[in-house]
Symmetry: C2
Subunit: 224 residues, 2 copies
């Protein structure tokens, strides 16, 4: 496992309490501005009976979908976040890395009408999670990924995929550890989707209601 | 025909001489910086025997591909630019609007191994040209579109599709008329491609060698 990946996975455990608090207190500006609403709308538009949320964190999306009457299942690499999700009322939630999911097909088996991954593809290897998600998607189901918008996030640097560091400074609460994450260009996302034998049906680019700039990239895929 | 479309088409005739001169003198910074090389490389990577260039202008791409031994055909809405292309050594080049192409299947009939459109989808209606191009693409052929990069071009305004105005001020030569053109977001491009019954295989985002920012968006499609 790369140094960056180790640090990333470790940060989810170290920061579990801080993360749970900022999500529940609505302290992440982009989520409040539209990305929570965007992923909810995208899932609901599929009209699913069953949803798997891979990288579910403390479980807010599972709870919102369960309130719609949808049968929900979640997984997350952090046992602390999985405990937080279970304690908040979602029984079917499992601590599992993407590698665990890929190599243990019986875990959160499905297939699910929608498999969703909301801001949780942060590694340079997205083939492992995409393959694990694809294997759990129903034949005519959808695989939805919301992620950092390639254009909003690259800043003043060159437009090139590579590791970056999230300090969480804008979240208004102290995080013990910064988190490495892998920035991807649009061409890189499309290449990864094609390589994973998925078909990109459309994308959404939810906009910030005030700045008019994209808040995120939402990839709507089917099994190719 | 909308006011913007009329003004756009008219500008190609009014500006034909100035346009021919800036292309031939290499006065368009982004083209020199990489977009000419990018479209040439993309076409060559397909290894075509035959190529149709829709919106060929004064014909530089046709000449470059003919020099490779490829059989080339061109079309452009401007009779003046078509004359310039023919005079520069490309015999099989035709004055035709996108509507003409769509409604006259015998014109530049093909099918072609590659159908290319280099910075020539500037209208709010891209379904007409995409349908005309699709009808001329060989079964296992490719349809290549190079266009303005949605993230490089939107400026400080909101990220929203709509009409803009090109003044040609950066081209270092005077153009008699500015040109309306329709700016598209990334999601809009993908939606149009899907609607045209095409499949996006991959995208290229050639970068400026100094700034590292995207110079263009190059869409590589096949018949869905």
């Amino acid at each position: 496992m790369s140094t960056e990946r180790q640090a990333m996975v470790r940060s989810w455990t170290t920061n579990a309490d801080a993360w749970t608090a900022v999500v529940r207190d609505g302290l992440i500006p982009s989520r409040r501005a539209g990305t929570d609403a965007a992923i909810l709308a995208a899932v609901r538009a599929c009209g699913p009976r069953t949803v798997l949320d891979v990288g579910c964190g403390e479980g807010w999306l599972l709870r919102a979908l369960a309130a719609d009457g949808i049968t929900v299942t979640g997984t997350d690499v952090s046992p602390e976040l999985v405990r937080a999700a279970a304690a908040a009322g979602t029984p079917d939630v499992h601590a599992a890395s993407y590698g665990d999911l890929l190599h243990a097909p019986a875990l959160a088996r499905g297939p699910f009408d929608v498999v969703v991954c909301n801001f949780a593809l942060l590694d340079d290897d997205v083939q492992t999670p995409l393959a694990a998600m694809r294997a759990r998607t129903a034949e005519h189901g959808a695989l939805l990924v919301q992620t950092v918008h390639p254009w909003a996030a690259h800043g003043d640097g060159a437009y090139r995929s590579g590791w970056r560091t999230e300090t969480f400074d804008s979240f208004g609460r102290s995080f013990a550890e910064s988190m490495p994450w892998y920035y991807r260009t649009m061409s890189s996302w499309l290449a990864e989707i094609t390589r994973a034998n998925l078909r990109l049906v459309h994308i959404d680019e939810p906009l910030h209601p005030e700045t008019g700039r994209p808040l995120s990239l939402l990839l709507h895929c089917t099994i190719a």
